[in-house]
Amino acid sequence: MTENHKGSTSAVACGFALALAVISFGIAAFLLVHLQSAHAAAVTSHETLMDYRTAMTRSALSRPILPENVPLTVCNQGAQPAELLGVVSSFRDPGTSAMRTFNSSSFGNHSWQLPPHSRQTLRLEQDGATVWDGSTVFFALELRRDGKDSLQTGDASRVSDGCAAVIPG
């Protein structure tokens, strides 16, 4: 092997190696820039999501806490009898804790008689099965008293002396 041949072999090898390295690092640099762009987009997207979740969490924490179920006990404090034409009650399902709504009008024309100075815990059974056990968080009562109809709403946080709903005298 001559010196010239050896020198040219060395130069070609070095040049090829250098070109290989330069091209490879060029591609790597391009991919690095792409990675940086993708990273910035991902960070923005993630921060937006996190901000939204944070806002939702703060909003959820600031929301009121629903009261627990109470039995819907209606107290007629008046001297006249009253008739309960219908009941709508939203209550927490004991199994799932999800809110459910009971509407007595969905089960026929069912009514409750409320004698004077009486209290009664409402519930509805049909064909031997309990349709509604009287639990309530929010309720609405359609009342008929002295021939006049009215609609009264209330919630479980206002139970007083065992009466969730009071028909005044």
């Binding site: 690095l32 009121p64 809110m99 009264q152």
Partner: protein
């Protein structure tokens, strides 16, 4: 007759007395060889070899001068140079091996081969010069000055064989190739112990050459090489194999330095470097390319993961935004106000005669709203949506329709029914009072 020798003293001259002493320079303890010596006719043994420059026992009075010859001892030669090139070393060893084998063939056992008894001339012509080769015939006390170069079998008092020459040549070879003594020790006692047990210094010797010296320095004379030529041949082969087949770049490049700057290794290095450079440059290029490819693949994979993550985050955000005002947000039901409207999908109008609602204020307290006092009646238009709210005649908003829970009595085509439930839907949603088939509904 050696053609390279220079005749300053006529051959065949009988010398003796002071002239012989001047030529031989025999000292009281050891032989001192001058730069000028003479090749004498063989006295101690009838051996004629070009590498043997025989002298006489000092008790001899005269000698027949065969030739005159100039040179320096190997000892002074080594002292003047830091190291000896391998080619030169092997040239010396080859001639010594031949001379020692010739002595062996003549039945002479030369116990004490040493660098001070070897003469060199340029270029690398060797003469063994000693006043007496047959040291084995001398009483032990006469060998005290040269005891450090005796073979182990002599120290053990066993029978001497021709193997003493192999041992002696191996010591010279070791000295020439590795620039140190094979049995060098701090004290004479330790040196003799090392000689007796063949404890030679293995440190500078490569793994390929070590077996050759192991055999040559063996305590058992029968285990050594049969001749000095055999040892020389084996050593040269091992040396070349070690030098020409390095297993690492470091071996190839460090070999000349470790062995005293060998000319052949330097030459090998000179042509090997460009190839090594190109090979390693190419390898470096591939390594750089592989590194860059690994970085690129890593970047691509990371980009793909990031994009996937961004898409997932966006989808999650859209889902949450959609769920915020949908029934899917079950945890909000009853806990947030919706804006109540009623829809009538039938062709007939419906009337809301009584309405009551519960709504949350900004402080998180529930408030009831009831239209009983105002006697306001809402009419749900046929096939339309009616927002439910209440304003005073002066335009003041008494109740803006915020609703968490509602109940209403609806009159429709002479029928009366109670509707109610929870409400957390945004504006635009409505409670469907009557379906298109004139069926009362009252649910959101």
């Amino acid at each position: 007759m050696n053609p390279l020798s220079k005749s300053k003293t006529p051959s065949g001259k009988q010398v003796g007395g002071d002239e012989l002493a001047r030529l031989l320079r025999v000292g009281p303890d050891s032989l001192q060889v001058s730069s000028q010596a003479c090749r004498f006719g063989l006295v101690a043994a009838n051996v004629d070899h070009p590498a043997l420059l025989h002298g006489m026992a000092s008790r001899e009075e005269t000698a027949q001068i065969a030739e005159t010859w100039e040179g320096t001892t190997l000892e002074s030669h080594l002292a003047a140079r830091a190291a000896l090139p391998a080619d030169e070393a092997f040239a010396i060893l080859r001639q010594l091996a031949s001379a020692l084998d010739a002595l062996n063939d003549a039945g002479v056992q030369y116990l004490c081969l040493r660098t001070s008894a070897i003469l060199l001339s340029e270029p690398t012509q060797v003469r063994l010069f000693d006043h007496l080769f047959d040291y084995a015939q001398l009483p032990p006390e006469a060998l005290l000055p040269v005891v450090a170069c005796l073979p182990p079998e002599y120290l053990a008092g066993t029978q001497l064989t021709s193997a003493v020459h192999v041992f002696a040549l191996a010591r010279i070879a070791y000295r020439l190739l590795f620039s140190q003594e094979a049995f060098e020790r701090p004290s004479l006692a330790e040196q003799l112990f090392a000689l007796s047990h063949a404890l030679w210094n293995e440190e500078p010797v490569g793994i390929a050459i070590k077996p050759v010296f192991d055999r040559a320095f063996s305590r058992d004379p029968a285990a050594r090489f049969r001749t000095c030529e055999a040892f020389f041949s084996e050593l040269q082969t091992a040396w070349r194999a070690a030098a020409s087949a390095p297993t690492r770049l470091a071996d190839a490049l460090s070999l000349p330095q470790s062995s005293g700057g060998l000319a052949t290794a330097r030459a090998r290095k000179s042509w090997a470097m460009p190839l090594l450079t190109s090979r390693y440059a190419l390898r470096g290029g591939w390594i750089a390319a592989a590194l860059a490819a690994a970085i690129g693949l890593g970047c691509a994979e990371a980009s793909r993961n990031l994009q996937t993550q961004a898409v997932q985050d966006s989808a999650e955000l859209a889902r949450l935004q959609k769920a915020q005002w949908s029934g899917a947000s079950a945890t909000n039901i009853g806990r947030v106000n919706g804006r109540l409207s009623v829809c009538n999908a039938s062709a007939s109008p419906a009337e809301i005669s009584m309405f009551s609602a519960l709504y949350w204020d900004d402080a998180g307290k529930l408030h009831p709203f009831n239209n009983t006092a105002s006697s306001v009646v809402w009419h749900a238009r046929a096939a339309g949506a009616t927002p439910i709210s209440l304003s005073a005649p002066d335009g003041t908003i008494l109740w803006d329709g915020s609703t968490a829970f509602y109940a209403m009595v609806v009159n429709y085509q002479g029928q009366r029914f109670l509707a109610g439930g929870l409400w957390n839907q945004p504006p635009g949603s409505c409670v469907l009072l009557v379906r298109n088939g004139n069926q009362p509904d009252g649910q959101g």
